[in-house]
Symmetry: D2
Subunit: 350 residues, 4 copies
């Protein structure tokens, strides 16, 4: 198989670093270009990037020269970790130039002809790419992955929705600081503290969940009718978003059936054996006090939603806790899995 | 006015220390006795107690000799900060010996003839003390305050329940480590982490809320019909329990009326000007990112529930955040305010 | 006594907030003006300032209109919490306009005619103000307090230097995040981490300590001959700089004499009863595991250096731990105590 | 090559878990026995052990039945992670029964005939094993690795001592909480705090460093004449001990030569290619703000001392920062590397 050259836009930021780390040694993709702001352009990645991951910077990335985030990077697949303040037009320019843009930015997620993909959940939404190509012309396109907390939540909801139907979700998140990027939150704000607000986050969870679980018919995704209500908080954790979830299902299957649905859930990435796919996209823990970010965030290399404390709720039916890695399954890992899905479906081929 | 001699049971623990700190300089009560386990007995409080509060140990407490937790302490009012493992029979022994026992322990809270008091919310439940005296004989009695997270929650719910009715509550707590006492949580478990479980806490929130908001008729408290469902978590915060609350009210008053109800709420402690009463038992913050434990836990000297982010919820009607000081309004301060209420109603007089 | 109107430059920053908090209710000084960057100017302090202290914003400050940091604030005494990037010329302008400038910024600390004051240690250096006035003309002047970690260290060294002589100091600091201001350190850098570097800090400790302990003769401060070598680190603590100190004294007095020197140390602020003076500028703790930031940073309202673990060192003679409040004795409180000293010596009078 | 069956004593504790994790997949050693207190004995390791590492429990260990820590485990090599309160006689019993005991406990480290080994530094001290066998009889023996903070420090000192001589060391440590085991430090003591004391730690650093760097002649290790003075603190970091070091060398080589000595240091484990040996036992970082625990603790899989900020010190000659992984190179990894050294020298053969 021919290897595919890829680039990362916004490569020096927190999510950009995670892309670079996850792409090192990827069996299909070769990182050939890193792009960032004008300020960084022209220096090597090793010089320009204040690397903040505990895993060392891949040697192959260190010597790449950082380039401006403009088309002409020599690759037809780019991952976008751009800040939302600039992602909109830049991603459009790359798509117009014929690139497949796999974006983690929020800008285009809710676009009518832009798929918002979770490969285990709505791989059929890939068809929107053809709509997008038809409308906008050319081979390029934009495909997106959800917001970090939505990614964790929706993966846990999907097996329930598929098997039992889903009517209502009330969710409270406890989100890690790496979700705010770098420099992100000032330490004086979060050390020994909780901040009960993340700008725009609740709206994203409420809207994106409905689109991902929605139905594609013709060219249109009809959002899922589930009612989602969220409160989001920031806690002093480095990696790993935890969510406390109360749900009303379409039926009353009992706790054991719920657990079994979570334990046995598989999707297309598992069937096709995509390189970044977790063996189990949803992992069930039975211990009372799990999942915990410090102990469980790396389950399935950060690509699973880890569910625990599944039990009945006197008010809404059921309640549970779910944990996911916000910069892996919630960002860079999600976009890479999306690219693998598209490649496997022939959408990246010339 | 004659000052009232008081004792603290379990005085060397985390809540016991808070009692000792809050009683220093109290206008009505004189701390004359501190009691703890056999291991501590016989040494001065200054020697026996590993003081863990940022406020210094009161000089007046330092020289008190720690005594065993047995009747005969020379005071007819004792505050109990005993561990639940021993509180049951010890508190009963003090009551049988004629003492007023103001307990923070969970053991007797749900007793049929034991008032579970929040002075702004259910001061009429004080009448259970007469029932208790009648049943058990003698002047002594046990009166309790709620669990720390319940205390914060119920104070925020009360103005809504009183004005609009209350049908349902889904609550997720983010609780501080001081709520687990000392030594409490191992640091390896909580540093940079979230633990999604606190043993017994959810049941306490669900039961105690219904009792406190319940109706006393004759000798019986009928629990409030509200449905309460809780998930509780521990976060790396020293003091201050935060709760994310979704509520369904009996009517749909609109956000402004809700805010006004919270802002204007007052109760008997405010009317009577009890020494430990906050001017405002419920404080409303309008900034998006408040309340926060580090900045707001000491509002009203830790005796208020601080509410923020009040807004509509598409699922349950309304949602908001509430913060309270878990060892002040959630423990020692609550018991002291209860004692002030009882004194003011003549129940501590000879 | 006539009250003295004062202003705070850089009032919205971390140290500026501490000035505003400490000046509320000051017996001599009235806060009449708050100045900050152009961006904040024109709004009320309550609106312009993102207050980050656990103590609430003083009501008297809330309504003050923030003004640009230019002379003409209507007060002849200003406290400067300006960032070093702008403090130099702004402070000079205020001095040239006739103001007494009590500065916490580093810019002028090492100026030949600028006193670097610790009132308990070198009150005689106040005489440099006359030199400064003579050289620069006019009544205005600049007087400074030391860097936050120097302030804590030098106060602990002074009783030893005065009594036994001081030859050498090797110090390692563990500094709190509030010392870096706001926004200061990104949380991703410091949560669960140690950063073994603070730009410029070691040089400040080494130079400032020698100037403060130095001798004024005529118009010149001759630095103390002590050799000081520092390594500085940042740790995840909100308030309170800890230092591990190894010292060689001029004689070998024994541990008991050292402790006694620390315990009994008093200076001019204590003799004169200055309002912000701690009763004991150096406090000795005998427990093995003290001082600790969380428990001891507020000893003497944050105005003391708290010393513990005093013992022999096989290499340099003696070693000990010292803790101080970095934004009180290490910044705003220090400048206010300096102003009190100057007022008491007639240097603020018309 | 025949694989060697090994056991771990104290296998359920914090260091015991690290042994189990590091031994999984070891090319020479097979973990066949886990022993712990009577309380755990009889249950499987998966049931008995509250696993606290972020890496998952090895599947091969999960089903092992925990046995009492008594000879007869079916292996002639045991690693001891026993608590010092019980390690003394238990380790002696295993040695008397013919086992090679590789101990992380402090009890026997300073024994005259017990080698205290760092394979890159003093592999010749292995000869003490013959002395020990001769004196005590039998094939069994006890060999030890240093205390966690000593391990990190001595590895950084060794290249300097070997090349330039070493006269004096003043060291301040900032130690991680995992060094205190589990449950270890209460979270109320260390969250947002520094504790300036670790019982017994300073004496260990001072004594063990001298023994490791000492000279074996005949049957006797003569301690190195270097003077070592330590102050030790605990900081809120999960893994990774940082030390601030001031040193006086035997000559004045200049900073570049010092750095070169650190960069180029190699020892027997590197020459022989021992499986757990780091490629570079001492790693030099040139960035101002490194090493940091969160970013650098896993350099060389936690088996190196990472050195930064090497520069001149006006007082003692040179100063620098060093970081090491306290439960890998500072405990379990050190003991395993010792075992590899002994095996390679034929001391484990029948």
């Amino acid at each position: 198989m021919n290897r595919i050259p890829v680039g990362v836009l916004g490569a020096t930021g927190a999510v950009g670093q995670r892309f670079v780390q996850l792409l090192a040694g990827h069996p299909w993709f070769d990182l050939v270009a890193v792009a960032a702001s004008e300020r960084s352009a022209g220096r090597t990645y090793g010089e320009a990037c204040a690397w903040k991951l505990a895993e060392p910077m891949p040697a192959t990335a260190r010597g790449l020269v950082v380039r401006p985030a403009e088309p002409g990077l020599g690759c037809e697949l780019v991952f976008s970790a751009l800040d939302a303040a600039v992602a909109g037009p830049v991603e459009e320019a790359f798509a117009a130039a014929g690139c497949a843009v796999l974006s983690n930015a929020r800008n285009h997620r809710m676009g009518d002809d832009v798929p918002l993909l979770v490969p285990e959940v709505n791989p059929d939404h890939v068809a929107l790419i053809e709509t997008q190509r038809r409308r906008r012309g050319g081979r390029g396109f934009i495909a997106t992955n959800p917001n970090c907390s939505t990614a964790t939540l929706v993966l846990a909801l999907a097996p329930l929705e598929r098997r039992f139907g889903l009517r209502a979700v009330a969710v409270t998140t406890l989100q890690a600081i790496s979700g705010a990027g770098y420099p992100g939150l000032p330490s004086l704000d979060i050390l020994g503290n909780v901040i009960p607000f993340i700008a725009g986050e609740e709206e994203k969870i409420e809207r994106e969940t409905k689109k991902i679980l929605g139905t594609l018919a013709g060219d249109v995704v009809t959002p899922h009718p589930v009612t989602v209500s969220a409160q989001t908080t920031r806690v002093p954790v480095v990696d790993g978003h935890t969510a406390s979830v109360f749900v009303t299902l379409g039926s009353d299957p009992g706790v054991d059936a719920l657990k079994e649905a979570i334990r046995s859930y598989r999707g297309l990435p598992q069937e096709r054996g995509l390189p970044s796919a977790p063996a189990h996209p949803t992992v069930l823990m039975e211990q009372d006090d799990r999942p915990q970010p410090r102990l469980d965030v790396n389950v399935e290399r950060g690509m699973a939603s880890v569910v625990g404390r599944v039990r009945r709720c006197a008010l809404l039916g059921y309640k549970f806790i779910v944990l996911g890695h916000n910069t892996i399954r919630g960002a860079a890992g999600a976009a890479i899995l999306n690219a693998e899905l598209l490649h496997c479906q022939g959408l990246l081929a010339r």
